[in-house]
């Protein structure tokens, strides 16, 4: 179990502020954020390489805030692997193990599990990116740490290898039952690997929760944009009358685009609209839907079973339709189309 409580870390001019995060025993959590948001610093603080200015770190229920890295029982894999260049693959994996038969067996077991047994006696200089990555993982796992910290483990491998490694990592996580905290800039990793995700923005957690939850209900424009929740429009909410308690019908104005929404208070806001919630038609759509708009098609992107239609509705919008629908509508740039959008599908943040 990893518990971070109000963790503040200062490194150079950068500050990681008030991080509170919990990963249950055996869980897999991801911290995602753009470059420079403090992801590596966070991991280094958990491992004990950076001393926090404030806050507590508990690993497996034990307060380790003041402990040296070697007393924390964590495995660490850096983005660039940082294998020991003067040692072979075998010596790298065995580095954290006391010498003996048990060490040889553990090296063998991990090498088999990760498919690097044939490489054991190779020097580090002659490994591919994927092989280095597996060696670094095996080295971190060898002493059977209770906690595994991964810094962008897929950043330096090609997409095909990334796919395989993700699957292997998940399998390895199940096999070793190890509590894992990974940082990444790729929300895809979070959706495929994590039970829990925290979005880091400029040194602070902007939002955390289950990956689908964060993706579906982003609570800030930053998170919505970063995780790719869909259309993010900046604008202003105007309540229809003296608003009663709770959400009430209101108007959201983003330049020339005006939408009917449900809002609790007036003022500047962002509207997040998922592309699949926008209905497209050649003819006007059913009168029960509150928002009926007319837009001009700018371009259509087909990616497998889904087509993304880029529209100009006074503000740029992207709608997602099935490839089949896209074919039936025969949309071409410059075409005028009708849009329908439920007020409940517009999330104000």
């Amino acid at each position: 179990m990893i518990e971070l409580e109000g963790l503040t870390v200062r490194v150079g001019g950068f500050t990681l502020r008030d991080i509170t995060l919990a990963v249950p025993a055996g869980g897999y959590a991801l911290v995602i954020g753009p470059t420079g948001s403090g992801k590596t610093t966070l991991l280094e603080a958990v491992a004990g390489h950076q001393r926090p200015a404030r806050g507590r770190i508990r690993l497996g229920g034990r307060d380790v805030t003041a402990l040296a890295p070697e007393a924390r029982g964590v495995g660490f894999v850096y983005q660039a692997y940082h294998l020991f260049p003067h040692l072979t693959v075998r010596q790298n994996i065995a580095y954290g193990l006391p010498r003996g038969d048990a060490a040889d067996r553990r090296v063998r077991e991990l090498a088999d599990l990760l498919g690097i047994a044939p490489l054991l006696d190779r020097p580090i200089g002659r490994l591919s990116g994927g092989e280095q990555q597996r060696t670094a993982l095996a080295r971190a796992l060898a002493p059977s740490p209770r906690i595994l910290l991964l810094d962008e483990p897929f950043a330096a491998v090609d997409p095909a290898t990334r796919h395989v490694l993700r699957r292997e990592l998940r399998a390895l996580h199940e096999h070793e039952g190890i509590t894992t905290l990974q940082v990444t800039h790729d929300f895809d990793d979070a959706m495929r690997l994590g039970d829990h995700v925290a979005v880091l923005a400029e040194g602070a957690i902007a939002q955390q929760g289950r990956p689908e939850e964060v993706f579906r209900y982003p609570d800030s424009a930053f998170v919505a944009r970063f995780v790719g929740s869909g259309n993010v429009l900046a604008g202003e909410v105007r309540l229809a009358g003296a608003g009663p308690e709770g959400a009430a019908p209101a108007r959201f104005e983003s330049g020339p685009l005006v939408l009917e929404v449900l809002a609790e208070r007036a003022g500047p806001a962002h509207a997040v609209i998922r592309p699949e919630d926008i209905l497209l038609s050649r003819t006007p759509i059913g009168a029960t839907v509150r928002n009926r708009l007319v837009a001009v098609v700018e371009r259509v992107e087909r990616t497998g079973p889904v087509a993304h239609v880029h529209l100009d509705a006074g503000r740029p919008l992207v709608a997602a339709v099935t490839a089949e629908t896209a074919g039936e509508l025969a949309l071409a740039p410059g075409d005028r189309v009708h849009l329908a959008l439920k007020a409940t599908a517009i999330r104000l943040v």
């Binding site: 890295p69 964590v74 495995g75 660490f76 940082h82 020991f84 580095y95 080295r139 971190a140 002493p143």
Partner: protein, 259 residues
């Protein structure tokens, strides 16, 4: 000939001139002594003693420089502290100080008139006009070379490698011994060899601090002034051969890419 061909030729000619200027005197010296002169030098007891004294004092100075310089180099490479840049600059001063000036400064600092010299003498360590004076002069001029080479060698080692070693259970000292030191060792060794060579070639400060017993460079100067050029040549060749052997060793040891 086209313009690029002309400029290539000009560059080659200029380069060749300097190479000749460096190699010419060395080859001339080797040719002048010949195998006979070399044999003569080796039979000369005074020459043999001077070479032996040079090698032992240079080795002692290098060992001292390693002992004192490696921890300092590590501090300079890894621990930011106030005045680090200034200290780094001060450590490089001996390189620009004329060697007789260094000798005079050392004489004032370590001589019987100074508290340091008196303290050393009462502890039984006579520096000036004794062997320790040679080692002191050599250490003064060669330590900066070793410190800057070792500092660069430590800097080349990614601190994250140490961090990985720490998470794998190493104490800071154990991580240093198992990761940082092995990775920096070639660079440190190359620096030690250069420092050793610098010690062997030192003359200006040694001649002021300890004229007798004579190291090789002092002996050669002594023979040249007392008996003329021919008397100085055999010992000079011997010292040159020693330097060439060292040069070859440095080429072998130096980490790839560190020129």
């Amino acid at each position: 000939m086209s313009r690029p061909a002309w400029s290539r030729l000009a560059v080659t000619l200029l380069a060749a001139l300097l190479v000749l200027f460096v190699l010419g005197p060395l080859l001339r010296l080797l040719a002048d002594a010949g195998p006979a002169g070399l044999g003569e030098a080796l039979r000369d007891r005074e020459v043999r003693d001077a070479i032996a004294l040079t090698v032992t004092t240079a080795t002692a100075a290098t060992a001292l420089a390693l002992l004192l310089g490696v921890p300092l180099a590590w501090l300079l490479a890894r621990r930011p502290f106030p005045g680090r840049r200034l200290l780094q600059g001060i450590l490089e001063l001996p390189v620009v100080i004329p060697h007789p000036v260094a000798g005079i400064a050392l004489l004032l600092f370590l001589g019987r008139q100074s508290p340091v010299g008196r303290a050393l003498a009462s502890a039984g360590l006579e520096v000036v006009s004794h062997v320790p004076g040679i080692v002191a002069a050599m250490l003064f001029v060669s330590a900066p070379i070793l410190v800057s080479a070792a500092r660069e060698a430590f800097r080349q080692v990614d601190p994250r490698l140490e961090r990985v070693a720490r998470t794998l259970g190493d104490t800071p000292w154990r991580a240093f011994r198992r990761v940082t030191l092995p990775l920096a060792s070639r660079g440190i060794l190359a620096g030690a060899l250069l420092a050793w060579g610098r010690s062997v070639s030192e003359f200006g400060s040694i001649v002021i601090l300890t004229y007798n017993p004579k190291v090789a460079s002092v002996l050669i100067f002594d023979r040249f002034t007392a008996y003329g050029l021919p008397a100085a040549i055999p010992a000079a060749v011997l010292l040159l051969l020693l330097a060439l052997a060292l040069f070859a060793l440095v080429r072998v040891v130096q980490p790839a890419g560190a020129e």
